[in-house]
């Protein structure tokens, strides 16, 4: 299974002790597993998991590390998807330019939405983002280029950079893997940079961060735009995988789904969103035969996650590991 490397990962990867050697080793092992995974597991499924994992990681950058609950991330995901699909299908862009166009659009939309939304906090912030996302949803429903409720279908998979034939699933898999690793490293680097530490300070105590001389709103806006752009990267990549962009991508349920993925996996942990995305996507895919029970099971898992292991799967594993560590060191 594709999820095994990631579920096995957290104890080694997220311990705060500076074991960079271990970490690098683990990273190489994880990438190695991902390189051979498509020969064992259906590649389209793995690509879907990676797209949603990147989406959840980008969302987690905002929720887990900046403490901003955006309830409108579907607008960046779906907006980028529509722009990417439209530029590739109608304007004849090559895939890499199409993805860049999608990302640029998502970043721009993130700037506009962020400028408005970060003026408020907590539930008001969530509601403002939700309202903006709903406005964008109705724009997509009405705008002629999105194809309304039919969506944009049959987006061609042209050769990447004019060289790599991505019409074969297996080739596309490695392209998506590269994009995913790139996005993940950007997020990892951001979290561990001085900028990321300021974000965490704002999350913990915003007035204090301001009193220390940080312009909290600028930091929050930058984090918002970065999160939107990476969400756009996930949305654009998904267009290449499924060759379609539809209203599902911009609907509010998509915003809710990414919250679910992040919470189940572990908010504020770097690997949590990946695990959460893998679990939710696996359920949607492999339990599709159970029909309506998928939603029931999804609901049960959510309730269980919130009431039994509030830190999420990865968060709980980290907590257990650090408990045993501190227990060993102290006596």
């Amino acid at each position: 299974m594709s999820t095994s490397p990631t579920t096995a990962a957290p104890p080694a990867a997220t311990v705060r002790t500076p074991r960079t050697g271990m970490l690098a080793l683990f990273g190489i092992a994880a990438v190695a597993v991902m390189l051979v995974a498509p020969f064992g597991v259906y590649p389209v499924f793995l690509m879907k998991v990676m797209c949603f994992a990147l989406f959840a990681c980008a969302f987690n950058l905002l929720l887990g590390y900046t403490g901003l609950l955006s309830f409108g991330h579907a607008m960046f995901f779906g907006g980028a998807a529509y722009i990417c699909a439209h530029t590739i299908k109608v304007l004849g862009f090559s895939p890499e330019i199409g993805i860049l166009a999608g990302v640029a659009f998502a970043a721009f939309l993130g700037l506009l939405a962020g400028l408005l939304a970060i003026r408020r906090q907590g539930i008001y912030f969530a509601m403002v983002t939700l309202a903006l996302a709903q406005m964008f949803f109705f724009f997509c429903l009405q705008a002629p280029f999105t194809g309304g409720e039919d969506g944009l279908q049959g987006v061609p998979r042209r050769p990447l950079f004019g060289l790599i034939d991505i019409s074969k699933d297996i080739n596309l898999y490695y392209v998506v893997l590269a994009i995913f690793v790139f996005g993940f490293l950007v997020i990892y680097r951001t979290i561990h940079s001085p900028f990321g530490h300021v974000l965490k300070a704002i999350r913990e105590n915003e007035p204090r961060a301001i009193s220390l001389g940080y312009r909290a709103n600028q930091y929050k806006l930058l984090a918002f735009v970065l999160s939107a752009a990476l969400t756009g990267l996930a949305g654009s990549t998904k267009v290449l995988v499924f060759q379609l962009a539809s209203l599902t991508d911009v609907a509010w349920q998509m915003s809710g789904e990414v919250v679910l993925m992040t919470l189940v996996g572990g908010m504020g942990t770097i690997l949590g969103p990946i695990v959460g995305a893998a679990i939710i996507v696996t359920m949607q895919n492999y339990l599709a035969g159970l029909g309506e029970w998928v939603l029931v099971i999804q609901g049960v898992i959510f309730v269980a996650a919130v009431s039994l292991f509030r830190r999420g799967i990865v968060g709980e594993i980290i907590a257990i590991v650090s408990y045993y560590r501190s227990g060993k060191q102290q006596p």
Binding site: Q142, E149, F242, L244, G289
Partner: protein, 403 residues
């Protein structure tokens, strides 16, 4: 049911040795539809049952076919639909996908089906693009489409005296298309459109729109919307006494199960177009009785009947070719042999993939007229097969050669 189960078990056992010519031809059909939300009643498990019933009635085992049926829920998401379709074609060896309501999902699955050269027999989706500009050599659209609905309801109602119209239109592409097509038909047949109003999607309060419709004094109020919007507008129209006041509602996309959940008191007087109604012929009633026995007393919708009829015809084509592997060849064969089955009668599958059969205009009965549960429709007019669907001369399907 038990027969189907035995059958499935047998086909699983036989799957392994199917490579030899003397062995049965393996066929795998995937029912991909909505199992959990708004279209689950009109398709759902009923469509799975209909597909299995078609295999049983066809006598597949005796004719050397080993047919297997699987199903999945597309959750009305195009990406879930395409990933299931891809996985079925790539990994599970599915030869044909059937049903698939929701136009967006259907168009996406049609694209995947063409890419993998399999067969897609759509019964549940409305969009006429499936056999129009998005037609493929691998897709057959069986039961109905937006063109047939607009044409059927528009023309038949004008002919039966409803010559002045007012449209209540859902304000997005689907609603606009339905309104446009219906308006064209109404005007072409000598009717008049007195006015129209655009209503936001998922609207809860139709009062101001219905008052406009009422004051227009149009004989017919055309509902160019779907699903929850249709149900809400009909309910509220009943509260305003619009039908009792002499105006009639024309639903452009209404299923038997919608009428069932509305109840006759609310839905009475509604005009609608459908491809099939269970209480119309003896064959239909027989099918419906067996369906009801297996599905908790429910009666089949036209979508489920379409799945039955479509699968039956598909199996005939596979039997003729002795293989289900080349999707385009199977569909070409389906177009070559005329269709004939107990539910939809004689007909044909056209070059653009459109299945041609008569459509019917029904009116929903009043509670007094109805003799029992599920006795809902009175037949008002039959639209002959050659007038029911978009003529090939108007088709924008690339497969149709323009002469």
């Amino acid at each position: 049911m038990r027969l189907a189960a035995i059958f499935l078990a047998a086909s699983c056992l036989a799957g392994a040795g199917a490579a030899y010519a003397a062995d049965p031809i393996p066929v795998k059909i995937g029912v991909l539809n909505d199992q959990s939300s708004l279209y689950a009643d009109l398709g759902g498990q009923g469509s799975v049952w209909a597909a299995k019933k078609a295999i049983e009635d066809f006598g597949a085992a005796a004719k050397g076919l080993k047919v297997d049926v699987i199903f999945a829920d597309h959750q009305n998401k195009a990406d879930v639909g395409t990933s299931v379709a891809r996985q079925w074609y790539d990994v599970d060896g599915v030869d044909a996908i059937v049903d698939t309501p929701n136009s967006g999902v259907a168009l996406a699955v049609s694209g995947v089906t063409k890419e993998k050269n399999k067969v897609f027999i759509n019964s549940g989706a409305a969009t006429s693009d499936l056999t129009g500009k998005a037609c493929t050599p691998n897709t057959v659209h069986w039961t109905y489409d937006t063109w047939a609905l607009a044409n059927g309801t528009g023309k038949a109602i004008v002919k039966t005296g409803g010559n002045t119209w007012f449209f209540l239109t859902a304000d997005y592409a689907f609603g606009h298309a339905l309104e446009r097509d219906t308006e064209a038909v109404v005007v072409a047949n000598g009717g008049k459109v007195l006015g129209k109003v655009r209503v936001p999607l998922n609207n809860a309060d139709f009062s101001s729109f219905l008052l406009q419709a009422q004051s227009s004094k149009a004989k017919i109020i055309g509902l160019a919307n779907a699903g929850g919007d249709t149900i809400n507008s009909i309910k509220q129209a009943a509260e305003y006494g619009i039908v009792a006041g002499g105006q009639n509602l024309a639903g452009l996309l209404i299923f038997l199960t919608d009428v069932h959940s509305l109840g006759l008191k609310t839905a009475q007087g509604l005009n609608l177009t459908a491809a099939w109604y269970w209480d119309q012929t003896d064959a239909n009633r027989k099918f419906a009785d067996e369906f009801a026995k297996a599905n908790g007393g429910k009666r089949p919708t036209m979508v489920q009947a379409g799945v039955y009829s479509g699968v039956l015809h598909y199996l005939k084509a596979v039997e003729a070719l002795k293989s289900a592997k080349d999707g385009a060849a199977v569909v070409a064969e389906m177009k070559k042999i005329p269709t004939d089955d107990p539910l939809f009668g004689k007909g044909e599958v056209r070059a653009d993939g459109r299945h041609i059969h008569p459509m019917y205009l029904y009116q929903v009965k009043t509670p007094a007229e109805s003799k029992g549960p599920w006795d809902y429709y009175t037949l008002k007019a039959t639209i002959p097969a050659n007038e029911a669907f978009r003529p090939l001369s108007e088709s924008d399907c690339p497969l149709v050669k323009k002469g």
